[in-house]
Symmetry: C2
Subunit: 343 residues, 2 copies
Amino acid sequence: MRRPKRSQQPSVTIRDVAQRAGVSPSTVSRVLNDSTPVAADKHAAVLAAVRALGYRPNVLAQELARGRSRAIGVLAPGLSIPFWSQLVRGVEQGLRDSEYYPLFASGEGISEATQALDLLLSHRVDALIVLGGDLADDDLRRLAERMPILAVGRSIAGLEARSMHVENREGAREAVRHLLGLGHMRIAHITGMAWHPDAVARREGYEQGLREAGVAVDARLNVEGSFDERSGLVAIETLIARSLRFSAVFAGNDQMAYGAGLALFRRGLRVPDDVSIVGFDDQPAAAYTWPPLTTVRQPAVKMGDAAVKALLNQLRGAAFQLPSFATELVVRESTGPVAPERR
Amino acid sequence: MRRPKRSQQPSVTIRDVAQRAGVSPSTVSRVLNDSTPVAADKHAAVLAAVRALGYRPNVLAQELARGRSRAIGVLAPGLSIPFWSQLVRGVEQGLRDSEYYPLFASGEGISEATQALDLLLSHRVDALIVLGGDLADDDLRRLAERMPILAVGRSIAGLEARSMHVENREGAREAVRHLLGLGHMRIAHITGMAWHPDAVARREGYEQGLREAGVAVDARLNVEGSFDERSGLVAIETLIARSLRFSAVFAGNDQMAYGAGLALFRRGLRVPDDVSIVGFDDQPAAAYTWPPLTTVRQPAVKMGDAAVKALLNQLRGAAFQLPSFATELVVRESTGPVAPERR
DNA sequence: CTGAAAGCGCTTACAG
DNA sequence: CTGAAAGCGCTTACAG
């Protein structure tokens, strides 16, 4: 058959380069991939031809011939969630100067997520990073048999070592201790979704911190949110509607902390004079709220970087190994001494 | 030669399907692509074989054979900037249910950006979306001869129609009129980078709004920022250090508005009681600042969606056409009547 | 060190 | 409607 109609002008191929350099395509390939020694003069001729023609290897053909794509699939329910947005920066950073590149696919809900996964698999990604999400543990377990995978912001039953977690409990405990140190005794907690492992761990840390200080855990002060601003706002409104007394709020992430702060603002309560707030994540925006937010920092960029590197190491034959990530309490201005009247 | 060693278990190919269905690979291809009528029984047999084997076409091979990648390249200086993050959502949305998929590459600075572009070109993307960035107009103009391209957040000399802009002037004018209506006469403006077309247009709109109301433009009230929070904060500190009087701030984007608000907060000035603030963008977070931010909404998601669709239409042979995007002033609680003592 | 050949997994003009 | 064949642009074992 004849070459199919191409939308773009015919691009330079390895044969054009070979012809111009007076060598075979094999030799061009060898020079470009530095895979086999090539005589100095031919080497130079190839390089010259490449430059003259502006040759750029067709990666699709390379991937097909090599049987490996060198793509790392990144599956996310959406890249615009701040924490993931930072994590993705880390992924890009970790991939820079490696021979791999990221292929992103996102989809919310089981059906879209499955489609997104299909895209990645059709592209024969060499490894997979799963950010949160809606895929079943089962499917993920099966996938893990075919390629290195790693999850962030979710757990995979039976594949615990493949899930990257920050030290959530410790971070939450520290947040609570900070608040207790300021004299707060009635500390509300807005959790993430009850099924979310990070949300659970943070809640446990919160309760542990309270108990360690001999403060009774009041279940009514614990409201479930969904990691977004709106849910933080609703949570506080719920607490207020129930006439529950509290002088501080520990939110399961920064976004809920923003929402919580707004709910307080609407009620005429000031942060931190009336109520203190602590978040979790330390998103870039947290340093610029009015006042800036005290929060538990998660090294999102570093985590993305480490995720990629763990996967690359495995692809190179090394054992899979995931570092653990410490959190750090960043004290800013949204927390202060308990107000006497709210004690 | 023998098949190269593969990292993954050999995957099912079109030949396996053909064999199982008792037809030729050509027929399998035709069924799957719905390109040529196929007898009903064979059709069914193919589908059954596909299902039984869990066959998933190798997209790399498809793209190579077709001579088209069906990938839309998206070049950005980083996906974590809020506005672009939203725009990317729009891009993903616009691509959903099309036969195309997005390929993201990011890099800050000319060298990284060039590398990122190389990645996209090596993958033979069918079209290109350029978000802001550091590439030279020249290179972009050359690219445009080979494939449909479109820029957001930057202009390309000689390719004006290929740049997507919101109605910046009108949006800025509206912001200023809103402030004037509240009695503000001394309105500071924090612009984006002086070379940025959107920044320039917004500043023009600001000045126009002032002049239309017969208010003199005071150049000292205009400070250049760089579209990030920090620069908004610094801008306000600069104004205060110069003892310039102002009762309202119109920031060139939301991020600078957050920074500006923080600077005011640090000085003990309240928003909006002492100083009103208006942003530009209406990022998701803007609705949750304390108080929520009055801002000029840019339909970022819609813009991403439209960008993709304009490109797809061109790929399908239609004329390239870019809609224009209106802004919308979203009045929230960061603006209020001018304080008598700051009039 | 080097070229010719086979192969990667598809698609599609060609010839029934 | 359908198969055999050629081709997409590479890589790499093979045989010098």
